[in-house]
């Protein structure tokens, strides 16, 4: 079952690779991480993920070594618009900006995103009610760069206003980040919003917001088999002994015809004594058998 081990370790490695971080670039970490040392898997040979890409941060799985790290707090604002109105501030995102340099390159990522939503003013409530009545769009926007807002352009997202109200106004943000750049935001209700959208006013005029920060996933690599074939041991391990099948499973295709033949023979053997028991001479038996066989043909004739 060596191959299982290999695969498990392979998957483990992959899972580690899928949470790459800048820190992962450093040699230290590689040494620290026992699994990589022991693995000897193909990943070793291929170069490590690229430093210029800033890594995901959603779930910092490991403690990064922090000599070069620096944290700073940043804020960026969320604007909203009702239908085609102009954008006005609606809330603030605050996050910690992690900066560390690696090989002369700076990596910056956001962590610990928090969101504080301004509550609707009366005017805004009225506007929102109008939106609900006309089934219009509630639009939000974010800067495309959190360090120097608005960056190149604003990231806009909109949702039919009728999707938001539940108990309170429920909203769900998925912010797709790339370093300090916001690429896109998925904005909408946290649940479903089936098509005939009914007019429903929220019981509470407050927002319950969920925010998720998302970074790019790493694509799975193409499987490399050459290594395993080279390491002869693995290759042998690869040849899995087919599970021992039962006698029936193996030979059923022979057994069934055999059974049929046997059954046939038995019925014939059973018939023989019967015929003898009736006392008919075989010479007379033949025409009678013929008559039996003619049965269907005469039936055809009658039809």
């Amino acid at each position: 079952m060596k191959w299982v081990k290999v695969i498990v370790s392979f998957i483990l490695t992959l899972s580690f690779l899928s949470f790459p971080s800048c820190a992962f670039q450093s040699d230290e970490l590689l040494v620290d991480d026992e699994e990589f040392g022991l693995e000897g898997a193909p990943q070793h040979r291929s170069p490590e993920p690229i430093p210029t890409r800033s890594p995901p941060v959603t779930s910092p799985t490991r403690k990064r070594h922090s000599d070069l790290d620096s944290d700073s707090k940043i804020q960026f604002s969320l604007d909203h618009a009702f239908g085609d109105s102009d954008f006005s501030p609606a809330g603030t995102f605050s996050a910690r900006l992690k900066t560390w340099s690696h090989g002369g390159q700076f990596c910056q990522t956001l962590t610990k995103l928090r969101f504080s939503r301004n509550s609707f003013s009366d005017v805004e409530k009225e506007k929102f009610k109008n939106l609900l009545e006309s089934d219009d769009f509630y639009r939000i926007r974010l800067p495309s760069n959190v360090l120097s807002p608005p960056g190149r352009d604003f990231i806009i997202s909109s949702v039919k206003a009728r999707c938001l109200p539940r108990e309170s106004l429920d909203e769900h943000f998925v912010i797709h980040m790339e370093g300090v750049n916001v690429l896109a935001v998925n904005y909408g209700s946290p649940g479903s919003c089936p098509y005939p959208r009914n007019l429903k006013l929220p019981a509470k005029w407050s927002f319950s917001s969920h925010t998720v920060l998302k970074n790019s996933e790493q694509a799975p690599r193409a499987p490399v088999f050459t290594e395993e074939i080279l390491g002869g041991e693995n290759a042998e391990g690869e040849v899995v002994q087919p599970a021992e099948r039962s006698f029936w499973a193996k030979y059923w295709m022979y057994l069934i015809p055999l059974g049929l033949i046997v059954m046939n023979a038995i019925t014939q053997a059973m018939n023989m004594p019967e015929e003898q028991a009736t006392g008919q001479v075989p010479a007379q038996g033949q025409p009678s058998a013929g008559a039996v066989q003619r049965g269907p043909s005469s039936a055809v004739r009658r039809r």
């Binding site: 750049n181 909408g188 694509a219 013929g290």
Partner: protein, 982 residues
């Protein structure tokens, strides 16, 4: 259970070979292949020797081809590739075709009979310049030589082996060499050009060794413009940059003398800006003004005389020397539906060597180019043949007042293709022409039977094969049950629409679109795309179907648009429209009006939406769906993807109730420093998905995320957008996105580190397959992403389904939060790709195959199961039964699965799949320079008998069986009777 597993295993192994290889005798039954060369740029005749007469042509698609002068068939051709533009061709030594290409830096010789390359030299020089090729009969060191001017260097090259015999640089920065002239019978060469646009320079060079014999230059007060025309071997004519003064410059023996004549002296009316037309007729040159083409003769020392003033549609050929010291040239003029071909001797304008009038199809437009060739007639007089290139890029050979052959080379540059159904066979419609009579039908079947019973003689086999290939059944002009017969409607770059029959590839009709015709208001019309405008069925069957051709006047996206509506049965353009707005996007809406005209939304550059057809009915239909119309735009340059919805009627100063303002709903801004959009892909609008659920091995079910609003976007690092290998793996990455285009939600984002484009992608059902280069592995890779809907995943419980407690029938909304999971996997793939498509069947039941246009210009079918993200090294028994193939690192290329079999579709551009009515079959049309069409059944034709099924054999078997039944019945009766009597 064992039986079950056996059956599953049986099906699995039997389906392991899904490859539909053809037998040799099946080639040409379902497929056809047409070869084209494109618009001819230059043609050289080869008619000296006895044997096969041919013409060598170079085209704008960078092809060198030799054609049979008798039939127009291609003897051989070479595609030089997009960057290897042919500058000049000629024939040397009577057996080599010489080509100068790539901006004059590559000189090649091809063997004329078979097209093999004989030699190739690369010529480099100090600077970029015009390239000129001149074949001479000069003999330098016993070798015949060529004189090539390119990149600021004059080279003499041996014809035998391509060796450079001598070279001479013209490094002066401002020198623009215009002509290289070798006066006949002399052993020196003139190099003529302008320096600093105002100085005329001549260099006299010894042709034997490249030595500079004399250099003269004269300054002029004005500046020269562009071209010069060679009037004689020592005189050129030029225009100044204002286009109003003609200069004739002679440089006899290196002494420059010139004459200036204002154009207005020659013409009474002010001609406006004139341009010199390149020609090489001795003593005559031509200028073109806004209104006319004027032929001017040079008499003696710079005296000019207008010999003829013709309208614009006049084309003149190069001079052809017909006998010692005598030259002739051809003129082609239009007169109504005829063209007049006139061949005149160069010295005498008024006499004609030949004057012919030829009836010309109006759909070919104007003559663009003419090349002439002479031959000796049976009565020893001079005969002439002319090769003409028409506006629609077709090529025709004229001889003796008739069109000897024509080639539709416009089909080498197809922009867009759509299909149209053929008319329904009605009682009244006579199709008798193609119908066979009963006797022939019987004869055919008897022959087939003979073939089946192996009784056929070789002649019979040949007859059977001929019958199969020429089956009238497939080229009928009516609809068939299987939906194999259709019209392929193709828009070419020349602005011509062709309808090809899918049965045999013949051109049913062709139409040069008026809307895409050059005119005062539309200088540079280009066709954009084709859409099905009207597809009548049900209640509008009497109408003919029609297609919408969208074009615009000029290359920029804010140029005004043009629309044409063309009847797809007759090819008549029944409506043509010049729009007052630009066309950036055309969106066919899923609504039709009462005459089955499809509603189309045209988005202009200012993001206004315009509804077509402009009828009150259309607006009524549209109003009810007003709030459900969304669209998106992709701005490749800035890396911004935006989504829009409609807002209100246009608020412009003109009240237009078919125009709507849009509002921006969402935007995705990709960081310009790290990502650049290179490819996008969407689902085909007409794709049918049979089932939403996918049963997986352990009796489990997964729901496909099927949305027609899914957009696949691939971006690369800006640095890595160049060629493969221009960046290190660390600097390059490929990011792929799956985006919902209604809400702008990013459903999936994934990075391939160390990978780079070009990316080819295809999106179908709930999966996307894309192809790119992996720099780390130094190989091409193909990846697949499958996307599944999790929000329906809990509908697995049978009881829930029975009780009705499930959400399967609830409408899907993009505004619901997408709970999706994706599965992906990458595989190595040997080839680089030119195009990728997926088979399309009418109900989507048949399993899918990818159609891959390989770099070798062939189409390879690859089963989608090879690109299943659930493949694993050791699939479980259950997974094997489901058809999961054990994981391999690379995708197999099975030689039998090339659907183009032995053919190549040169310059492959795209692969189009159309569903036939028969579920198992998809129609595949691949086009580039060549066209290829075939039927393809991804899972074999499980729902029909093959065409070579012998009905006669079946009939005979039935008859024999019936006879046998009767015979045995009689026999048995007789036997019975006898038995009773006994």
């Amino acid at each position: 259970m064992a039986i079950m597993s056996f059956i599953f295993a049986f099906f699995f192994f039997s389906s392991l070979q899904p490859i539909l290889s053809l037998y040799e005798d099946q080639v040409g039954l379902m497929d056809w292949h047409q070869q084209y060369i494109g618009k001819v740029k230059q043609a050289v005749f080869h008619t000296h020797k006895t044997g096969r007469k041919r013409v060598v042509a170079s085209t704008e698609q960078n092809i060198i081809a030799t054609l049979d002068l008798r039939s127009g068939e291609i003897f051989w051709r070479h595609v030089l590739g997009p960057n290897d533009v042919v500058d000049g061709i000629d024939i040397a030594l009577g057996k080599y075709v010489i080509t100068l290409s790539s901006g004059g830096s590559i000189l090649r010789a091809w063997n004329l009979p078979d097209g093999q390359m004989v030699w190739e030299s690369s010529l480099h020089g100090p600077k970029h310049s015009k390239s000129l090729l001149l074949t001479t009969n000069l003999i330098i060191e016993k070798d015949n030589s060529l004189i090539v001017f390119s990149n600021g260097r004059l080279n003499a090259v041996s014809c035998i082996d391509g060796e450079v015999l001598w070279k001479k640089d013209f490094e002066e920065e401002s020198l623009e060499v215009q002509q290289v002239i070798q006066p006949p019978g002399s052993d020196f060469i003139y190099v003529v050009g302008f320096a600093a646009s105002s100085q005329f320079e001549t260099y006299k060079i010894n042709a034997k060794n490249g030595e500079l014999l004399k250099h003269e230059s004269t300054a002029f007060s004005g500046r020269f413009s562009g071209e010069v025309s060679l009037v004689s071997s020592e005189t050129v004519a030029a225009l100044d940059s204002t286009g109003s003064i003609l200069l004739t410059i002679s440089f006899h023996n290196g002494k420059i003398s010139s004459q200036q004549t204002p154009v207005s002296n020659l013409l009474e009316d002010s001609p406006g800006l004139a341009v010199i037309i390149h020609s090489s007729v001795t003593g005559i040159f031509a200028i073109k003004t806004d209104a006319a083409t004027i032929f001017i003769r040079v008499i003696g020392e710079g005296k000019l005389e207008v010999v003829e003033k013709t309208n614009h549609e006049t084309v003149v050929s190069d001079a052809l020397s017909i006998s010692e010291g005598q030259q002739a040239f051809a003129l082609v003029q239009h007169a109504g539906s005829n063209i007049h071909l006139t061949v005149k001797p160069a010295h005498d304008w008024d006499s004609n060597l030949l004057k012919e009038s030829i009836k010309m199809d109006q759909q070919r437009g104007f003559v663009h180019k003419v090349f002439i060739n002479n031959y000796i007639r049976t009565d020893r007089s001079h005969g002439f043949r002319a090769l003409i290139v028409m506006e629609d890029h077709s090529l025709l050979l004229l001889q003796q007042g008739a069109i000897v052959w024509s080639r539709e080379d416009g089909l080498a540059s197809i922009i867009d293709v759509t299909t149209s159904e053929l008319p329904v066979e009605k009682a009244g419609v006579s199709v008798a022409k193609v119908e066979l009579n009963l006797f022939e039908w019987l004869k055919g079947h008897v022959l087939k039977l003979k073939g089946t019973l192996m009784l056929a003689t070789p002649e019979d086999i040949a007859a059977i094969q001929y019958m199969r290939l020429k089956s009238s059944e497939k080229s009928k002009m009516t609809r068939d049950h299987n939906g194999f017969r259709k019209l392929l409607i193709a828009l070419t770059r020349a602005g011509k629409l062709f309808a090809l029959h899918t049965g045999d590839g013949r051109i049913v009709w062709s139409h040069l679109l008026q809307s895409l015709h050059k005119s005062e208001s539309c200088r540079q019309p280009i066709g954009l795309n084709l859409h099905q405008w009207q597809v009548p069925h049900h209640h509008a069957l009497d109408e003919n179907p029609s297609v919408l051709v969208v074009g615009r006047c000029g290359p920029s996206s804010d140029a005004l648009g043009v629309l044409s509506l063309v009847d797809s049965y007759t090819g008549k353009e029944f409506s043509s429209l010049r729009l007052v707005h630009s066309v950036a996007q055309v969106i066919p809406l899923p609504y039709t009006d009462s005459t089955e005209q499809r509603l189309h939304l045209l988005i202009d550059a200012d993001k206004h939406a315009h509804l077509y057809p402009k009828t009150p009915e259309a607006i009524d239909i549209f109003q009810s769906e007003f709030s459900n119309v969304y669209w998106y735009s992709v701005d490749d340059d800035n890396g911004i993807i935006k989504g829009y919805a409609l807002k209100t009627k246009c608020s412009g100063n003109v009240a237009d109730e078919f125009c709507f303002d849009s509002r921006e709903l969402w935007s995705i801004v990709l960081p310009s420093e790290s990502e650049k959009i290179i490819t996008t892909a969407t689902r085909k609008l007409n794709e049918a998905v049979h089932t939403q659920a996918k049963l997986i091995a352990d009796q489990d079910v997964m729901y496909k995320y099927i949305s027609s609003n899914l957009l696949f976007v691939a971006t690369v690092a800006p640095k890595a957008s160049g060629e493969i290998g221009s960046v290190t793996p660390e600097e390059s990455w490929l990011v792929v996105y799956l985006i919902d285009t209604v809400t702008g939600r990013v459903l999936h984002r994934m990075t391939h580190h160390g990978s780079q484009g070009p990316v080819q992608a295809v999106l179908s059902e709930n999966w996307v397959v894309y192809h790119y280069f992996n720099l780390r592995a130094h190989r091409y890779e193909m990846s697949v992403i499958e996307i599944y809907d999790q929000s329906r995943a809990d509908n697995k419980d049978v009881w829930k389904l029975v009780v009705g407690n499930h959400n399967l029938t609830s409408p899907v909304s993009s505004y619901s939060r997408a709970e999706v999971i994706t599965k992906s996997q990458s595989y190595f793939f040997t080839h680089s790709l030119k195009a990728i498509a997926v088979t399309l069947t009418v109900k989507g039941i048949t399993s899918k195959q990818l159609l891959i246009g390989t770099i070798g210009d062939q189409v390879l079918a690859l089963d989608k199961r090879f690109l299943d993200p659930r493949r694993s090294v050791n699939p479980t028994q259950a997974e094997r039964e489901e058809g999961i193939i054990p994981l391999t690192d690379s995708l197999p290329i099975i030689p039998q699965s090339y659907i183009t079999h032995s053919l190549r579709v040169e310059g492959l551009q795209s692969i189009i799949t159309v569903a036939a009515k028969l579920e198992s079959t998809t129609l595949v049309f691949a086009h580039g320079l060549d066209l290829f069409f075939t039927h393809y059944a991804p899972s074999r034709t499980y729902d029909s008998l093959t065409e070579d099924f012998s009905y006669a054999l079946l009939l005979i078997t039935i008859v024999a069986l019936v006879a046998a039944i009767f015979v045995t019945w009689i026999l048995s009766q007789r036997k019975e009777l006898q038995d009773r009597w006994r």
